[in-house]
């Protein structure tokens, strides 16, 4: 076949560009649509506030749009790259760049839609608070955008990395994997951070006096929600910058992809679960501001437990990245590395979400009656331990795949 390497690079860059803006457009549109819908509802309730509602809807949508614009910029760059004389490896890095940016925008857009929607509602319900509502909406939406910015940073690194003289195997897996890992890991955090941002804004409209406490809780809760995305970024950087020249290409490439999938997918559930917990904590504080102490404490305990499956995913990734493998081209040698990553990645989705759900209900109840916080926190931990169990099974199967069979 007379197809030059440069043409393959161009083809891969185009696929990356398509995936990038395709994935990136989904949630941005959903978030903006949600904000617009809620703005319409708010106008129906209080038509006299139409000016401020429209203004804040547009500001909120503009922030939500930024993830889509990042994706558009990255795909434009991928389309118009100069691929003349480049090696095939470059193409896989471009594919990774598209995946990183596209997938990471999938959470942020919808996440930013929540505070924008609640801001419009709040202005209709309590017009004098509109200044505070807009400020907090912007803080909350900005936090939601962070994961997509991580995705953009990794995408740019992949596009401009110097890969002169590196072999195609196993580096293609490291570069595509870095993009995949960052993109997947950003989904849960971007979406999750939107939930406390939304409930915080709603809470300020209901209880303007509790603003300081609400904002603190939102910031603390969102910061924890961002952690899974940071784990994803760490693994992406390890994949990008570690030296893979001395590892046996077979089966190491499967280990690299497995490491990317393990942390990337494992970050989705905990990110969302943490967001649910932080969201309910903000609602509780808005209802009864004096319960802030116990509510924030239990929120943090619950979020920590929900985080544990991301850490299992990270652990499996580190094993895949750092434990040397014997060179082997046998089918079972590489399939088991890939299977271990997939197992831990999928296995962490449910527990992260379930454990977060248990914590969310707990903080709601503590908000209603803080005197029960000890009993409820204790039972929450027991129930979380049970909900965690399937994540531990997945960890066991992944470790068995890696070390026993």
């Amino acid at each position: 076949m007379g197809i030059s390497e440069a043409l393959w690079v161009q083809a891969l860059a185009y696929i990356g560009a398509g995936l990038c803006i395709g994935f990136g457009a989904i949630s941005v549109a959903l978030g903006e649509g949600y904000a617009a819908g809620k703005a319409g509802e708010a106008l129906g309730k209080n038509p006299s506030m139409n000016g401020p509602i429209l203004k804040n809807m547009l500001i909120g949508q503009a922030v939500a749009e930024s993830a889509g614009i990042f994706a558009l910029v990255v795909s434009m760059m991928l389309i118009f790259l100069d691929t003349e004389g480049s090696k095939l490896l470059q193409g896989f890095a471009y594919l990774g760049a598209g995946l990183s940016m596209g997938l990471s925008a999938t959470g942020s857009g919808l996440g930013s839609g929540f505070p924008a929607a609640e801001c419009c509602q709040g202005i209709a319900d309590n017009p004098p608070t509109q200044g505070n509502l807009a400020t907090n909406m912007l803080i909350g939406s900005a936090l939601c955008q962070t994961p997509s910015i991580f995705g953009m940073v990794v995408a740019f690194m992949l596009m401009f990395l110097d890969m002169e003289g590196l072999a195609l195997w196993p580096h293609w897996a490291a570069y595509t994997g870095a993009g995949l890992c960052m993109g997947l890991a950003a989904i849960g955090s971007g979406l999750g951070s939107g939930i406390p941002a939304g409930t915080c804004v709603r809470g300020i409209a209901r209880q303007p006096g509790a603003m300081a406490g609400l904002r603190t809780n939102m910031l603390v809760g969102s910061a924890v929600t961002q952690t899974p995305a940071i784990f994803g970024m760490v693994v992406a950087f390890l994949l990008l910058f570690m030296d893979w020249t001395d590892v046996p290409p077979w089966p190491a490439w499967a280990g690299l992809i497995g490491a990317a999938l393990s942390t990337g997918m494992a970050a989705i559930g905990p990110g969302l679960g943490n967001g649910l917990t932080a969201g309910e904590a903000c609602s509780s504080i808005a209802r009864t501001p004096e319960t802030q102490g116990p509510v924030t404490t239990t929120m943090l305990i619950g979020q920590t437990v929900a985080q544990s499956t991301t850490i299992y995913g990270f652990l499996v990734s580190l094993v895949l990245l750092f434990v040397p493998v014997a060179p082997s081209e046998a089918l079972d040698a590489w399939v088991k590395l890939l299977a271990a990553g997939l197992c831990m990645g999928f296995g962490a989705l449910g527990p992260g979400l379930g454990v977060g759900l248990a914590a969310a209900y707990t903080v709601t109840r503590i908000g209603r009656d803080a005197s029960q916080s000890k009993l409820l926190t204790r039972v929450m931990l027991v129930s979380q331990a049970v909900a965690e169990s399937t994540g531990i099974y997945a960890l066991i199967i992944a470790l068995l795949l890696l070390f026993v069979v």
Partner: protein, 82 residues
């Protein structure tokens, strides 16, 4: 490289074990979390019944866990028996 039949079967079993445990772990955990959440909500409303509620929650979660355990059993069978 030539792939032998036995190798193919072994590789398929590994991949199946990974996917089986991974995907099988999603549902039970979300379900258990929901059961835990609702039990905690009830406990907050009526703390005197905490013992009864915890017991019921754990029984319910044990049942919910079953499909996760089936996945574990099938994954272990795939790894070590077949």
């Amino acid at each position: 490289m030539a792939i032998e039949g036995a190798q193919l079967v072994r590789a398929a079993a590994f991949m199946a074990a990974g996917l089986c445990m991974g995907i099988g772990a999603i549902g039970p955990a979300v379900g258990e979390g929901f059961a835990a959440g609702k039990a905690l909500e009830a406990m907050g409303k009526n703390p005197k019944e905490a013992g009864l509620l915890t017991r019921t929650m754990l029984v319910g979660q044990a049942v919910t866990e079953s499909t996760g355990i089936y996945s574990l059993v099938v994954a272990l069978l795939l790894l070590f028996v077949v």
